[in-house]
Assembly symmetry: C2
Homo-oligomer: 314 residues x 2
């Protein structure tokens, strides 16, 4: 039995949030539907932030409601605060991805409060969720951004990452995600951070969120797999490049990640060819968005046999 890896598409949120052109709601929904049909089981479809802050998410309600029509898909959304959680509950979203920065400076710039206050906010969100009837209570994921480095503070102490991971867990997070928001990490650092986090909060599912800004994204996935991580964020075509680094890659490329995992013998549930086809929806909708991705350019290896086919033959 091949080990299953849970993949989470974040391109519609992390990939689109810095893109200046609005992607039409129908195109977002076409992307979500096509990627779900290719086997993606969890998609972060939007962010519940005020449209005046990020106009790209002005259609958060429609996108959430549309995505919720797709059978079997886990629909998730980012929330920065309690108001976002309220919105998610009203819409009936399956999972809320709360995000705070381990870096004090980054958290101040992003949500204008120190990380300690973000923990307090998180406790209030969990309290609100626990008031909901069980069938209508979204899963809550606690996210630690800049956990492997920060554009303002540089290296981040592992002890700080562990500290906030423990506080999020104690506050009631159902799962955690540890993020290399700016693509600073290397495999040695990944092992150090994830081992330390898992040692303290390994009773919860912990996801890894890597950016490929400096080329180390999939190498970091390899290191995280070695630590026992089985849940990864990525974005189709690697959408999400940094506005301050023209041409720089963003999130790790979902297609390349799926290929690497499949080739390594992991079960992802994703059809690689069908996944590559989904890129066309993005290209047609946003012709000017930079698309990354090695597999899409090079194609599958000659005579490639998928992990699923190999498992079936064994």
């Amino acid at each position: 039995m091949a080990q299953h890896i849970k993949l989470r598409e974040v391109g519609l949120r992390d990939g689109l949030q810095i893109h200046p052109t609005f992607m039409a709601t129908q195109d977002k929904l076409a992307w979500i539907a096509a990627e779900a049909a290719a086997g993606m089981r969890e998609i972060e479809v939007t962010s519940y932030v005020p449209p005046k802050l990020i106009p790209q998410f002005a259609d958060a309600g429609e996108v959430t409601e549309g995505a919720l029509q797709i059978p079997g898909l886990i629909v998730t959304a980012l929330i920065p605060n309690l108001r976002g959680a309220q919105r998610g509950i009203e819409l009936g979203v399956h999972k809320l991805n709360y995000v705070m920065s381990v870096s004090h400076t980054h958290n101040m710039k992003n949500v204008r409060r120190p990380p300690e206050d973000s923990i307090t906010d998180f406790r209030a969100i969990v309290a609100l969720l626990r008031e909901q009837p069980a069938g209508r209570r979204p899963i809550i994921c606690g996210g630690l951004s800049t956990a492997l480095g920060c554009s303002y503070e540089g290296r981040i102490a592992v002890s700080q990452v562990v500290r906030y991971a423990v506080q999020l867990a104690e506050a009631g997070a159902d799962e955690l995600v540890v993020a290399d928001t700016v693509g600073y990490a290397d495999p040695v650092q990944v092992r150090a951070v994830f081992k330390a986090v898992l040692a303290e909060v390994g009773h919860l599912p912990v996801a890894a969120h890597f950016h490929d800004t400096r080329g180390t994204g999939l190498a970091n996935v390899g290191a995280a797999l070695d630590c026992g991580i089985t849940m990864f964020d990525a974005s189709l075509a690697g959408l999400g490049g940094c506005p301050f680094a023209p041409g720089a890659s963003g999130n790790i490329v979902m297609e390349d990640l799926c290929f690497m995992l499949d080739s390594m013998g992991y079960e992802t549930g994703v059809d690689l060819q069908q996944l590559i086809e989904v890129r066309k929806i993005i290209t047609q909708a946003l012709p000017d968005i930079p698309m990354q991705g090695a597999l899409a350019r090079a194609g599958l290896p000659q005579g490639y046999v998928t992990a699923a086919a190999r498992a079936a033959m064994a």
Copy 2:
């Protein structure tokens, strides 16, 4: 003490061989000199093949002689056969990189003989080298291309890789290089192949040569490091894309590899900023050549402290 990793620049050979525009000899020599000044200690500067086959290497003699003027640089060249070895001996090159394919089909297409005959040729090359006076005898590296997959044959059996590695070692190779010529490998496969090779010929230095065609290049480096490999080929700006896959990456990007290794705490001897500057020589000489590289676009992390500086502080 940080562990030292030996890096070998192969862009002037593997990167240029498929590029249709001739790079002027003075530009090649400027590239070699600048990269040596940045700390690169070994550079494959050319290939001793007939110019009518690959016009890019028509200046092989001049490039070799020029490179040999650089103090401390290990100057290497690819050879496909005995004639190439004779040429290298005449020129006084430091190291000869003999290459054969593990894939029968690929070897037939490339050098028109089965791999067994390439082993016979290799024995003749070693015999010729042993006739040379000790001070003028180049080091001979036995290269196994398509060892992790072939565009004609697909997957390659690990036993075949080990078989030819043992035969090259027994024939007198001073070192070996195992190559993922077409970028098919994943970290699980890398571990399987390199562990098997090292188990049989681990008394010789074994280098890894990866291509990033499907995005897995640096993840494969991570897996090879785990196996104990400490010698890697790469090319500046990832030159060497496949002519049959437009836009596809070629060799792993030297700058990104150096960054990852340095960040992991390995000693490479290379100055990252100075290495990035060398790209300008290529861009000016060949404005139309596709340049890859995440670090060059994104820059070093904020407050980045090099492995050398960390070692000095410790």
